[in-house]
Symmetry: C2
Subunit: 249 residues, 2 copies
Amino acid sequence: MIQTILNHRSIRKYSKKNIDKQILDEILLAGTRASTTGNMQIYSVIVSTEKELKNRLWEVHFKQDMVNQAPVVLTFCADMNRFNKWCKARNTEPAYDNFLWFYNASIDAILAAQNVALAAESHGLGICYLGTTTYMADKIADILNLPEQVVPVTTLVVGYPDESPELTDRLPVEAVVHYEKYQDYDKEKIEQLYKEKENLPSTKELIKVNGTENLAQIFTQKRYVKKDNLHFSKSFLEFIKKQNFMNND
Amino acid sequence: MIQTILNHRSIRKYSKKNIDKQILDEILLAGTRASTTGNMQIYSVIVSTEKELKNRLWEVHFKQDMVNQAPVVLTFCADMNRFNKWCKARNTEPAYDNFLWFYNASIDAILAAQNVALAAESHGLGICYLGTTTYMADKIADILNLPEQVVPVTTLVVGYPDESPELTDRLPVEAVVHYEKYQDYDKEKIEQLYKEKENLPSTKELIKVNGTENLAQIFTQKRYVKKDNLHFSKSFLEFIKKQNFMNND
């Protein structure tokens, strides 16, 4: 268990080998055993395998090749729709069309996703999360026919790896762990925590390729720039509202 | 691995036994190996063990006894603060004070939490997620000294179990899994999917105790009622704004 967790690498190249139905079923079952708000299971998983459908998803996920390559694309959704329909069938009015329940349902979906990811990896499969899911939530919802009160929150591509990447570097554990209360970072602490990462040969190569002064500037000036952050914040919030999750008054 | 996932039960009663430092360290390391947005690690984990501090957390987590009982309380936070400080130290201006990055950082925190939960369970420890975290985010932030751009998103209590609960029921896997695209639920499908859950002896007992007509009404009329949902939606959104995550224009 721990070894599966510690050995995780995101896989971005996949072989053509399909996933046996039995394995896929077990992985999906693992998802349903994750903790869930009040045992309400307010999430859904869309298992997309058809070539044409995956191609449409590839298009909106910034044309990342792994979406077409991987045999299975799993879109995890915050989903109050099923629960609402059950409530209405039981003569009672649900009141989950607000931000709290969008967020609760998001947590449910993400916990299920991580169980699925680890169950897949324990079978020798590779996975990669697609952060583009929230950027393109409205387009993904169109492709997958998501009804009101359903929002895609993350996507996993799953398949047999066609690469063996090194373990990705991480900050030292002390960078993210605080004892008792939050210990804020002073300049000296920041220097200490980021030193190893900044001195990696791969980091130096990345800085050269990007033509920036340092690694932080790659994030702020190349990868995740203000204009895009504002655009995607607005479009995601608008979509959450459109899906009827913002009636907070 | 799969067995650990399939055997998960939330534990709500804990023995007095402490967690060895070596085991705690390994569990926290497991958290840092989870997938993370752009390898930015935009989350923090607060490890609270002091009796008085846990008592303050117990108070805000609706006085659930497991918060005092469990030797360790882990508060997982969406955290752009450390990353921002690094950017500023590197002569570049971060633009992560918006909803997109609150949400990305939330996903990071929740993925790390589920790794920690499973690593703990693989060591024979028990865990329980506290949904009260978002309800009381502002109060938790006060207790734990959370600075701007840090929001608590979920909490795990961790310790050795002092109970052996049965596996919790779940809807059949087909209830949450859709093939290719979302398959919406008609009345007949809802009946089929909820039948087993509604016929459990534990469900019938719960309905009797709550004096409702059915299980759905326990959720809508007793546990998660409109007034509270609206209150906590507003207070959580206000807190996200206060923590400087809502500058979307």
